[in-house]
Amino acid sequence: MNLRIPPLLRRAVPAGLLALASAAAHAQLAIEITGAGANRMPVAVATFEGENALPRAVTDVVRADLERSGLFKMVELGPSPMGADAPVDFGRVRSRGADAVAVGTVSPSGAGRYQIQVRLHDTPKQVSLGSQAMVMAPQHYRATGHRIADFIYEKLTGEPGVFSTRIAYVLKSGSRYELQIADADGSNAQTALASKEPIISPAWSPDGSRLAYVSFEAKKPVVYVHSIATGQRNVAANFKGSNSAPAWSPDGRRLAVVLTKDGQSQLYSVNADGSGVQRLASSSGIDTEPAWSPDGMIYFTSDRGGSPQIYRVPGSGGDAQRVTFEGSYNVSPRPSPDGKSLVYVSRNGGRFQVTMLDLASRQTQILTDSSKDESPSFAPNGRMVLYATEVGGRGVLAAVSSDGRVKQRLSVQSGDVREPAWGPQPRN
């Protein structure tokens, strides 16, 4: 999945920039595809006319995104560019086996910026499926590539793509913990918080501007809310005992949290600024890991029945209803963005695995073949589930499609990656 940089362009990149890129490489998440869909659609992304004016080939980003989704098989068309409005040689494209082809034109639009026009064609029908135009600064070629991949993905699958989203996760290197934010393809990793004490349970606000998380920097678990762009943060819950498991309400105003101030781990909600604490549910056991579903229900883990199982309660509080019944360990529930299914971790003969439950049919499916899965998190389009697992004794992130077919792994060269959270669609 390495970017292919044409030799000419490679010479154009200042040597210092390359050195910087390689120095940062050890901390970058590298993506590896470990399983793909059974029937991948063959698609070609032609070299765009004029794209050699950009620092890197934007179409390389587009191809890598589409390939990584596991739904497409990329077809090579060679180096000759194909413009957005030029006639397409459908015979040649079809002879390579591509069912769809994306063509495009990059042209200067003044003030150092570029206009990029993309058109997608259905090759068997020889018709245009649509076009999109955007203006970009050349250094934003990756972001632009992700948006083009989103456009192609949506045209071909009918669902929004998630190539422009971000992920948050915790990187542990030695005794150092970093809460990092990266693009969904693992590139462009940036540290939001560095600490000598553990950081767990990052949760994105619905608008993607803030993260809530649990930090142990005060020698005990305390919930913070952190504005990503400014780095400003406030304590959202620091009561006597432990404070943990923050989850945003769909309107982004309140957080469900777990507090032990009145004894056991129990569910409460607070405003994001820490005010207005309210109890959500009561039990004589552990209640934890709340997660809001789009219909306003809160799914959570409780051992009130003797073993950890998943329950749900109205977001305004009320009586809890049990959701999982199979097995003796079902934890970390996350409702899908459409509210129709639930992903969680189940223990099966000593293995902890990401499991999908269809809430209407009650059918369950174990999605992974690993054994130390934790912290599942849906992509905002519900297609993929990101989770933490262990490979060779090291913490890695992995993603699996909601049908279990497509599999990816994200790891760093050194250190453990854990506690992933897939961010929302960016708001334009």
Binding site: P198, I200, S201, V214, F216, K219, K220, P221, K240, G241, S242, S244, A245, V258, T260, G263, Q264, S265, I286, D287, T288, E289, T301, P308, Y329, V331, S332, V345, R347, F352, K372, E374, S375, G393, E419
Partner: protein
């Protein structure tokens, strides 16, 4: 001002003396008087007076660190997915309860821990239950609520890092820390 300065330590000393029916606490009153003496003279700038937090004398701390004393043992180990204090740890919990009752100014932070398997947040809650179990046992043995705080570190602070049954067992623990140790 001089009256106030002398009165407060004297009250503290007499309260401590009244409470201390247990042996080994004879030094308490003297320790408090030493502190007030240093504060009221306050002229000799080269003099160093050792102050132990919460007014506990050296004899008490020594017992906590003496490897031959049961009080030097601080960990209660638990079974997998359990927060029941096993019988073998009763004498240990009773010894710490006795010490806390005899030293009512001493505070304890109980940290619950778990092994690495399963959900971090569920493990945090499980660690809390372990800390709470120790706290409750100490409370039933007469330790005042205000002397105790129970928190959880979940699976985040293992004492042993191998993925072995022996290591996991060592990590499923409640640790008892005294004032000055956390």
């Amino acid at each position: 001002m001089k009256l106030v300065r002398f009165t407060l330590p004297l009250i503290a000393a007499s309260v401590l003396a009244a409470c201390s029916s247990a042996p080994g606490l004879d030094g308490q009153g003297a320790a408090v008087e030493d502190r007030s003496g240093a504060a009221s003279s306050g002229v000799d700038s080269s003099r160093v007076t050792t102050v132990t937090a919460d007014g506990v004398g050296g004899a008490g701390i020594a017992a906590l660190k003496d490897p031959k004393n049961i009080l030097s043992k601080r960990s209660v180990l638990f079974d997998y997915d359990s927060y029941v204090i096993k019988d073998q740890y009763r004498p240990l919990v009773e010894a710490h309860a006795k010490f806390l009752v005899a030293n009512p100014t001493m505070k304890m932070l109980i940290q619950g821990n778990t092994d690495e398997r399963g959900s971090r947040e569920y493990n945090l809650a499980l660690g809390q239950k372990r800390a709470d179990a120790v706290k409750k046992a100490l409370g039933l043995l007469g330790v005042a609520e205000g002397q105790l705080e129970s928190v959880s570190l979940g699976e985040e602070k293992p004492s042993c890092n191998d993925a072995t049954e022996a290591c996991w067992a060592a990590n499923r623990r409640g640790d008892m820390l005294y004032s000055g140790e956390f």
